[in-house]
Amino acid sequence: SLSKGIQSLITRFAGTGKLTEENVKDALREVRLALLEADVNLGVTRAFIERVKTRAMGKEVIEGVNPGQMMVKVIHDELTQLMGGPDAEPIKFAGGGPTVILMAGLQGAGKTTTCGKLAALIRKKHEKSVLLVAADLQRPAAVEQLKVLGAQLGMPVHTETGMTPPSVCERAVARAKAERIDVVILDTAGRLHVDDALMTEVAEVSRRTQPHEVFLVCDAMTGQDAVNSAKAFNDRLPLTGVILTKLDGDARGGAALSVREVTGKPIRFVGLGEKLDKFDVFHPARMADRILG
């Protein structure tokens, strides 16, 4: 593991009094390798290493404390702080009228499943009513997929025929207002950030429904490309957070750091399995541990 690797490197410098550029150089090389193997974007890795170097430099090595341990602590703290504060932000519920939540992201990231999970969490934790909205009109049986999840949860699913996704969403919000449903979750089609027509479409959904939360749903095993798609979605949508899915796998999840860096938006939730209860708020320290390996 990185911690062991760095500890053994820096043990030989015990007794030098300070962490210096020379004695942290090897350790930082280890960190760089660990981050790249974890799929953290190269540019993000470089910026992170620079920050760690600045923080570590000149730190007094406290009597009796292993410099390696100090180094690991600096790295871990810096990464944890980057990933977000200790408490994930709670959902921003609307003051009056329905709270609108928009789910967007690349194909296959886990949006539809996450709509079901988020609905389940909101009902359980906040005791609010939820309307699921099937606005993916392009994938075969996407509407059916959300209807099955709605049936499993005993929650209504809004569907329309002969309408564009922005109109379906607008109608769903109007229905929620009329029926006094607390929360509306909009499931949208997966799309490429380089598909201008579809990026315009999802921006239109956002413009016409004025969501209180806009989540980028991102697969934890995404590699270097995470920065490209995240930046594009962040440019076109008023993102309020990121949901990282499939964290029950063994991908290190470096995309989390890349997405956080490039959008500045916090990771709010994580998907931990296919079932609807496999969902949790994001824990920055745990993610830092996982990325460092």
Binding site: D39, L106, G110, A141, Q145, A226, K246, G249
Partner: protein, 278 residues
């Protein structure tokens, strides 16, 4: 990526290394490739950026070529293709694309082997309808091995040319689901000793280094004969497959370049490498 016709210097070589990383080639494989580049530069085999590019492209093409992209055929009777991979990579969509291609070769049957996920068989049923092939399916929650068995029987009795079996997405870290996949394979093999003749692992081009673990771990349970690399119509380069070739000799047979039925290409190492260095 690098300015044309310039003499190589340390900065340019570093820039090149960065580009390799951004394509998801991964530290280990980048290290090996850069070692070769630096050695060639040191012994003056390559001196300019153009020569460096030519060297690099040839080097990577060398890693990726040399294997057939054609699907294996059964000596007689239906050829059975089993498709697997982690969640959301594009298995079901790729099956529809591949089946559509195989149609002109003889009757194709599809099997809805994902009996777990919401509307999984409905999704494949819509595709089967769209491309005009027969689908074998059972109720949600049925044993996938039972569906596979049914499908093999149907393929044999109807003298189908091809049987393509869809499976549920699963993570290679889920032991019970990997065991389920093994059971599906064994059931097929019991009925047709040489089957599955082709076992394809579907990988998402946006996936990073975890793609290597996927290929290695799925390869422990299945005799993988090919990879399908999807979503190459995005900006991800799919460079993880180079690292995969380092560890397991599984050739890429198809690439997915979109969500429509015709968005499938036979893997072309030259085209892939050119795109890698764009």
């Amino acid at each position: 990526i690098l300015p044309f016709g310039r003499d190589l210097d340390a900065d340019l070589v570093d820039q090149l290394e960065e580009h390799l990383y951004s394509a998801d080639i991964g530290p280990r494989t980048v290290g090996k490739i850069m070692e070769a580049v630096r050695a060639a530069w040191k012994n003056r085999t390559i001196k300019t950026t153009d020569e460096c590019f030519a060297f690099l492209k040839a080097h990577v093409k060398g890693i990726l070529s040399g294997e057939s992209t054609a699907l294996r055929r059964a000596a007689s009777g239906p050829t059975v293709v089993l498709v697997a991979g982690v969640n959301g990579t594009g298995k079901t969509t790729s099956i529809a694309k591949i089946a559509n291609r195989l149609k002109k070769d003889g009757p194709v049957i599809l099997a809805a082997g994902d009996t777990f996920r919401a509307a999984a068989s409905e999704q494949l049923a819509l595709w089967a309808d769209r491309i005009g092939v027969r689908l074998i399916r059972q109720d949600k929650g049925a044993d996938p091995a039972a569906v596979a068995f049914d499908a093999v029987e149907a393929a044999l009795s109807s003298k189908a040319a091809w049987l393509v079996i869809d499976t549920a997405g699963r993570l290679h870290t889920q032991e019970n689901l990997m065991a389920e996949l093994d059971k599906v394979k064994r059931i097929i093999r019991k009925r047709i000793p040489d089957a599955p003749h082709e076992t394809l692992l579907v990988l998402d081009a946006t996936t990073g280094q975890n793609a290597i673990s996927q290929a290695v771990e799925f390869g422990k349970v299945l005799d993988l004969t090919g990879l399908v690399l999807t979503k190459l119509d995005g900006t991800a380069k799919g460079g993880a497959i180079i690292g995969i070739r380092d560890q397991v000799k599984i050739p890429v047979k198809f690439v997915g370049v979109g969500e429509k039925v015709d968005d499938l290409e036979t893997f072309d190492p030259d085209g892939f490498v050119e795109a890698l260095f764009e």
